[in-house]
Every structure is written in C-alpha cells, then in structure tokens.
C-alpha cells in the first residue's frame, strides 16, 4: 500500500468545509438577490473565504483545524 502524503486527509476535510461554506454563502446571496443588504453580505463572505484560499497558507489552515 502506498504511503499517503502528510496531511492528505486533514487537508481534504478542511477544503471540503471551505467549499461548503462558500457554496452556502453563494446560495444565501442568490436566494436574496432582491435584498441588497443580504446579497452584499453574502458577497463579502465569499470574498473573505476566497482570500484565505487564495493565500494558500496550508500550514495555518491545518493548525487552525487542529486547534
């Protein structure tokens, strides 16, 4: 059996959580397109989540996940 790369499972779980959070924010925004306050909030949520992913600091993500 091949030896898995370190943190493979942890990273998978963490990214899945992030993807779900992002989809949740998108759904919230799409469902309230006529309500500027809610939709703007959803877009800000998306931006904040994506900023973290784009920074790509895997070590920080995983240490947060453990904490």
């Amino acid at each position: 059996m091949a030896q898995a790369a370190p943190n493979t499972e942890k990273l998978d779980e963490h990214l899945l959580e992030i993807v779900r959070a992002l989809h949740g924010a998108v759904k919230q925004g799409v469902a309230h397109l006529g309500e500027p306050k809610i939709v703007d909030g959803a877009i800000v949520d998306c931006e904040e989540i994506l900023d973290v992913i784009m920074a790509g600091d895997v070590e920080a993500w995983l240490s947060e996940a453990v904490a």
Partner: protein, 238 residues
C-alpha cells in the same frame, strides 16, 4: 499497451515510469484546477457586472477548489503532495494560460468557454483510464466544467449583443485565449504523451486532442459572428 485497471492497493507494484507519469499528471491537473481561481477571483469577483455574476464567479471558484481537493486527495493517497500549488505564484503555473491575471470581463467570459473547455478535454483523457481512483472523481468534475463552459458562452453572447465596440473587445479576448488554448494540448509528436497512452493514462495524442478541439470550437466561433484566429500565430508548442 497496458490495459489493466489498478487501484491504490496496486500502486506500489507498478513500474516506476507509471508511478512517475501518474504523479506528474495529477500534479499538473491540481495546478490547473486551482490556477483558474487564481486568475479571476482577485479582479473579477469585485468587478463582475451584476451581483448575480459576482456570486457565480464565487460559485465557479468554489467548484474549481473542490476539483483541486478531489485531485489532491487522489494524488495524496498515493504519496504525491500537491499542496505547493496552492501558494505558488501564477508565473510558476505548469500551463502558460494560467500565468497572469484576468482583468476584463471579456477575458473572463471567453476564458470560460475556450479554456474551461480545455479542462473538459483534459479530464476526458482520463475516461476509462488505468487508475480507477482517478476515473471515479471525473463525472462530477466534468459536469461542473460543462456549466462553466456554458456560462462563459452565454456571457460572451451577452457581450456580443452590445454592439461593435464590445464585439471588438470580445474578438481581442478570443485572439488571446484561442492560441493559448491550442498550446495547452502540448507538443505534437510528444514522446511523453505516447508513454501516457501506453500506460492507459491518456486516450489521445496531443495533436488528436487539439484537432478535436479545433473541430468543435471553430464552428461555435463562426456562429457567434467571431473570426477564427490564425492557429499558428504566437503558438509556443506546435
């Protein structure tokens, strides 16, 4: 030709060339999946023309991140750590089309229907491939890529309906992405591509896939009233 289908449990017994090629193709695929969001999130999420488009940019990024996750899992399980691609600068991406930043809505729309289509082609190479864990993650990823292509196509049509000035901007975007799209298939006659085929990791030669893409895309461009760019101008890999 290698015609077996293998599972993770069999990986250790495989020829070193198979291991190296599978590891390489998964790393490149992971880089391309995360490379998309790195191209368009920074400028297009705040600048998309409507709130709905902003949300769709975010949803597209979410789907690409999820594709990365799935490919990274397949790679990680067999010992290939692809996490470095999450933080590497765009200039270091494996594939030229992902080196840079999308700064206009025209580029973003055309990227969707020309470059995400390449994503679909790359994934189709793995249909019926010899590594079953890779095969299993394909259906959902391909379905989502089809959605990205359709969105890019519809947004391009929307832009084209806005008059000649906009049409010129779209044509410029097409001129830019078309050539880069053709380069994404790699060199014709590539010896490495032959080895991928030998090991059942890809189905077509680079030139076959490129030719199929041209046959599919050229009529679409013509039907949209766009000119087909010179397929050789500015190409890096022939």
């Amino acid at each position: 030709m290698f015609t077996d289908k293998i599972e993770l449990n069999d990986f250790d017994k495989m020829d070193p060339e198979y291991k190296a090629l599978l590891s390489r193709v998964l790393t490149i695929q992971a880089d391309c999946e995360i490379g998309g969001p790195h191209l368009y999130v920074e400028r297009m999420l705040p600048a998309a023309p409507t709130k709905l488009d902003q949300l769709i940019v975010a949803r597209t990024a979410a789907e690409e991140i999820d594709h990365f996750r799935k490919v990274a899992r397949v790679a990680g399980d067999l010992g290939t750590d692809v996490t470095f691609v999450l933080s590497q600068p765009n200039e270091k991406r494996f594939v030229d089309a992902f080196r840079g930043l999308i700064t206009t809505w025209e580029d973003n729309a055309v990227f969707g229907f020309l470059i995400d289509r390449i994503g679909r082609y790359q994934l189709e190479e793995f249909y019926d491939c010899s590594y079953l864990p890779l095969q299993r993650i394909l259906p959902e990823i391909v379905t989502e890529e089809l959605g990205h292509i359709e969105y890019g196509y519809n947004k391009t049509l929307e832009l084209l309906s806005k008059g000649d000035e906009e049409k010129e901007r779209v044509q410029n975007a097409v001129d830019n992405w078309y050539v880069r799209a053709l380069d994404m298939f790699g060199r014709s006659g590539s010896a490495r591509a032959e080895r991928y085929r030998y090991w059942g990791l890809k189905r077509r030669t680079n030139e076959q896939a490129r030719s199929d893409y041209i046959k599919e895309v050229n009529p679409i461009l013509t039907n949209m009233g766009l000119k087909i760019p010179d397929p050789l101008k500015g190409r890096r890999y022939l």
